[in-house]
């Protein structure tokens, strides 16, 4: 008999209690993992905007609630362009529109045709639109495939019918799922003349991107630069709040779960008073009794965590298939989400079982053995 086999035997002997604890852990882990993968998915989708231009870094207005609310005028774009070390600066207007049920957040990119090359756009079919063409559009090849449209077809967007003049590729799937319009046309559609959302910057080859970025930020405190997905929060406060909410939920889940685990373990302690008294009487050290109780809780937490992760996969899939969230929510199951789930499960188990374990270890053998 080993410590492990004793623990497993104890868990198996109290099936109702064990199931209750594992279920509590599973529900908490499911909640936290689902929230994490959903927020990761939202972050990835939002950060994907930045990857379209294949820029060294992207410039946005500082402190906006959503990156798509960022607004920079032509003068700022010109200033960025003239910053030392900047090779090119492409101002782009980004909007989203519901095209149909399958595309509730279809991405629309307003960009001058002269900037297409430096933005990394390759025309696969047809031609680029004219700089001031009012009803011309280019579709990303994935979007064209999804919508079943070809060059010459009509594409309804922004309340008007647009002629598809070209099919493009950016090499970035998010960009290829959208459409590109002449910048003045999209600005007019959205009533933001002279305004762009983001500026995609490429640095002169050979220069340090980080140094140019730092120099730029020092010179333009009203703007912010984003180089990696982790810097996304500088320009998108919603995402920061969402991640803070997920962290808060994690802490809450641990605390509430710990109370449930602790309560169940405490009831178990009352049932097993004689057993712990006997173990102490025959010479078990307090630390060994603590280890026994905490181990039981940890094993149940691991089982509950595995169930919770399984449930979170099912719940996330269910949420994605809801009509209201279809195409909006893309769960992203990362290692971080699983670690977070494990931390929640084990945190609940350790916090919840510690007090009952210490009480069990401190039972007076004589009193415990006389317990009826």
């Amino acid at each position: 008999m080993t410590h492990f086999s004793l623990v497993i035997g104890n868990i198996w002997a109290k099936k109702a209690r064990s199931t209750g604890i594992a279920l509590a852990v599973a529900l908490a882990v499911m909640t936290v993992v689902t929230l994490t993968v959903v927020s990761n998915g939202l972050e990835n989708a939002a950060a994907a905007v930045l990857t379209i231009g294949k820029a060294d870094f992207t410039v946005a207005q500082k402190g906006v609630s959503d990156i798509l609310y960022s607004s920079l005028d032509n003068g700022q774009v010109a200033q960025i362009q003239s910053t030392p070390g900047v090779k090119s600066a492409v101002g782009v207007l980004l909007e989203t529109e519901r095209i149909n049920a399958a595309n509730p957040l279809f991405i629309e990119i307003g960009i001058q045709p002269s900037d297409l090359e430096s933005f990394g756009v390759t025309i696969l079919a047809g031609t680029a639109y004219g700089p001031d063409a009012p009803n011309e559009v280019m579709l990303g090849w994935r979007a064209a495939q999804d919508l079943g449209l070809h060059v010459g077809d009509q594409f309804k967007a922004n309340g008007t019918s647009n002629t598809v003049v070209g099919i493009y590729s950016t090499g970035i799937s998010y960009g290829d799922l959208g459409a590109m319009f002449p910048l003045p046309a999209l600005q007019a559609y959205n009533r933001v003349p002279g305004s762009v959302t983001l500026v995609f910057v490429k640095v002169v080859p050979g220069l340090s991107v980080a140094k140019v970025q730092a120099t730029f930020e020092a010179a333009h405190p009203e703007l912010t630069t984003i180089r990696t997905a982790s810097q996304f929060g500088r320009a998108d406060r919603n995402l920061v709040f969402l991640k803070a909410a997920v962290t808060g939920s994690t802490v809450l889940a641990i605390l509430i779960g710990a109370v449930i685990v602790g309560n169940t373990m405490l009831l178990s302690l009352f049932e097993r008073t004689r057993e712990f008294g006997l173990l102490r009487a025959i010479g078990w050290a307090r630390s060994r009794v603590v280890a026994l109780v905490v181990s039981e809780s940890l094993i149940l937490a691991l089982i509950g965590s595995a169930i919770g992760v399984g449930l979170s996969i099912a719940v996330a899939a269910g949420l994605e298939s809801l009509p209201q969230l279809n195409g909006v929510l893309h769960s992203s199951f990362t290692a971080e989400a699983f670690w977070r789930g494990l931390v929640v499960g084990l945190g609940m188990a350790i916090l919840g079982s510690l007090y009952p374990a210490i009480r069990a270890a401190n039972l007076t053998p004589v009193k415990a053995l006389s317990n009826e």
Partner: protein, 228 residues
């Protein structure tokens, strides 16, 4: 005492031991002086509430005295830092209600007493099996307590008490819930322990016949020893 001197002191020695419970009104033990030689089998008798079980729990370091001194072997119990280790290494305990863990087999119930020791797992299992053989339960080692008779359970409890080679065995009414045949078996085991292994035995009992099997009987009344 130098390392070449032989310790001729009794195995167990108590002096003026008192145990007063928290309310301060009940003196369970009221100045107990007891001496038990190594290898001796002593029975403690007396009416209910006279302090027999309290004395046994103090001798086993399950509880501490209010005042007085208790020595078991080389351990001064009133100064004991690690009572767990003392119980594990020096003491075997047998209770009236065998106190076996119901979800463990007979083998598991013996082995569990050795889990805090340094013995490797394989050796623990071997020794538990050997102890069950000694108490005549070889064929029942995989049975759970509910599948054993009262006498068989108490024999498992004796095997458990011997798991760590104790120098003293304390038994609190070990035959109280047994039929006469099982009583004889358990007492026979005690006798063998004493003669074959030199284990010092202190047994608490109401039963005069059981007490008669001991080398010496100590009678208690109102927390005192009245017939040393």
């Amino acid at each position: 005492m130098s390392e070449h001197d032989v310790d001729t002191r009794p195995m167990i020695e108590t002096h003026d031991v008192r145990k007063i419970y928290a309310d301060g009104k009940v003196a369970a033990l009221d100045g107990v002086d007891l001496s038990v030689s190594a290898g001796e089998f002593v029975a403690i008798t007396g009416p209910s509430g006279c302090g027999k079980s309290t004395l046994l729990s103090l001798l086993a370091a399950l509880d501490g005295p209010t005042s007085g001194t208790i020595r078991v072997g080389s351990y001064e119990l009133q100064h004991l830092k690690n009572a767990d280790r003392f119980r594990r290494q020096e003491v075997g305990l047998v209770f009236q209600l065998h106190n076996l863990l119901p979800r463990l087999s007979a083998l598991g119930n013996v082995e569990i007493a050795m889990m805090g020791s340094d013995r490797p797992r394989a050796e623990r299992a071997r020794r538990a099996q050997s102890l069950l053989r000694d108490v005549g339960l070889t064929d029942l080692s995989d049975r759970r307590p509910t599948q054993l008779s009262g006498g068989e359970r108490q024999r498992v409890a004796v095997a458990r008490a011997l798991a760590n080679d104790p120098s003293v065995l304390y038994a609190d009414e070990p035959t109280g819930s047994l039929d006469s045949r099982s009583v004889s078996t358990v007492l026979g085991l005690f006798e063998r322990l004493r003669t074959d292994h030199g284990v010092t035995i202190v047994l608490v009992t109401h039963d005069v016949a059981v007490a008669a099997s001991a080398d010496r009987t100590v009678h208690m009344l109102d927390g005192r020893i009245v017939e040393p």
